[in-house]
């Protein structure tokens, strides 16, 4: 099958999104299903077909989602309604929209500048339960309750850890 000449190809836009909480790397396929469900439940099947969404690349906590040109707004609104992916609570933050994947990859490289090393304790006790520090960037500290199941994640700051 020959590919269409550039003038006949449909124009696309690529949306760069950041996945929160930091350190969450969901499966690309599961993320596709989560976004697709959000798009079709919010806008309906007809609009979902027009949006023509696809998860084209995942680089760590950054994901590039494709859509048809002119449907970026609809996709961005639907992305804000994604709350879970593969049973994990997540939030998708739209960072940028571009006409090429390459320019978004350049942005990812800029944003991935390493944080200054911060010293925080590995463990802490909240409400009498032991928690492990799972992620720390700048002032933000995420802790997860120690255990095998029903573990809760708390979103704190370094000052909160000092107060506990």
């Amino acid at each position: 099958m020959t590919s269409r000449p550039p003038t006949l190809r449909e124009k696309r836009r690529y949306v760069l999104i950041r996945i929160e909480p930091a350190g969450t790397v969901p499966d690309q396929k599961e993320l596709y299903f989560a976004v697709h469900e959000a798009v079709s439940s919010l806008w309906g099947d007809a609009a979902a077909a027009l949006i023509h969404m696809a998860v084209v690349a995942a680089e760590g906590t950054y994901v590039i989602v494709r859509c048809r040109r002119g449907m970026e707004r609809e996709l961005a609104i639907a992305l804000t309604t994604v709350t879970t992916c593969g049973g994990q609570r997540i939030s998708l933050r739209t960072v940028a929209t571009s006409g090429t994947i390459e320019s978004l990859r350049e942005r990812i490289a800029v944003m991935r500048a390493p944080d200054a090393a911060v010293v925080v304790p590995d463990e802490c006790t909240i409400d009498g339960r032991r928690h492990t520090v799972s992620n720390c960037s700048g002032q933000k500290v995420d802790v997860i309750e120690k255990g095998f199941k029903n573990t809760t994640r708390f979103f704190l700051t370094r000052e909160d850890l000092e107060d506990i």
């Binding site: 961005a76 804000t80 309604t81 739209t94 708390f154 979103f155 000052e159």
Partner: protein
């Protein structure tokens, strides 16, 4: 002029500390937050106003609860109920926000309640939580209630506030996402800007000039 998320619920109700929520709000473009059951403070350049939500309380008790909360200078929100309850609550002095309209029936907020809200300057809360978290019939019903609310707002010009009712930083949304989600329910950008500023105005209401001797 403060851009404010009209309701967040930090720990112990949620899983995020109030400082973390303030930090996140700063990154998301907010100047202030109204945090339920939290003392007022300022963190990361974000002013956190204390808020109280009165829910599951009979109408007769609302006035006394509001009176008790006056000492704490908190923003008082009262959960909406049926039409009679809403009319009474909107007439209570000291009530700042009527919230949870999306959970009420179609006749709970009509033109009479809209006029009372406009006359008393009580803001009506549009929670984005059902738009973000719910799916299917529940979201459709919430959207329907909001369409009706906005229709009445355009006619009677009562103040609107927009909130996420976030219990976690993952449920918080940026100012741009607020206006995008609000466009789904028919609010355009000037309306959203006004609604985001209204919550800040509740913290410092304009009052008559007093002569101090």
């Amino acid at each position: 002029m403060k851009i404010t998320d009209a309701c967040v619920c930090p720990r112990p109700a949620g899983d995020s500390s109030v400082r973390r929520m303030a930090l996140e709000a700063h990154e998301l473009g907010f100047d202030s937050l109204i945090a339920v059951d939290t003392p007022s403070c300022e963190y990361a350049g974000v002013y956190v106003a204390s808020g109280i939500v009165i829910r599951d309380v009979p109408v007769q008790e609302v006035a006394s609860r509001v009176k008790r909360s006056k000492e704490s200078c908190a923003i008082v929100s009262v959960q909406a109920g049926d039409n009679g309850r809403n009319r009474t609550v909107l007439g209570v002095r000291g009530v700042h926000i009527l919230c949870g309209i999306h959970r009420t029936d179609r006749y709970a907020f009509d033109h009479v309640t809209a006029k009372i809200a406009a006359d008393n300057g009580v803001a009506i809360d549009i929670s984005l939580a059902p738009v973000i978290k719910e799916r299917g019939v529940v979201r459709q019903r919430a959207l329907d209630r909001y369409f009706d609310l906005i229709l009445l707002c355009r006619r009677f010009e009562f103040p609107l506030v927009i909130s996420t009712h976030a219990r976690s930083v993952l449920e918080m949304r940026s100012v741009r996402e607020f206006s995008a989600l609000a466009s789904v329910i028919g609010l355009d950008i000037p309306d959203v800007e006004q609604a985001l500023l209204n919550a800040g105005r509740l913290q410092s209401p304009s009052s008559a000039v007093k002569v101090v001797q």
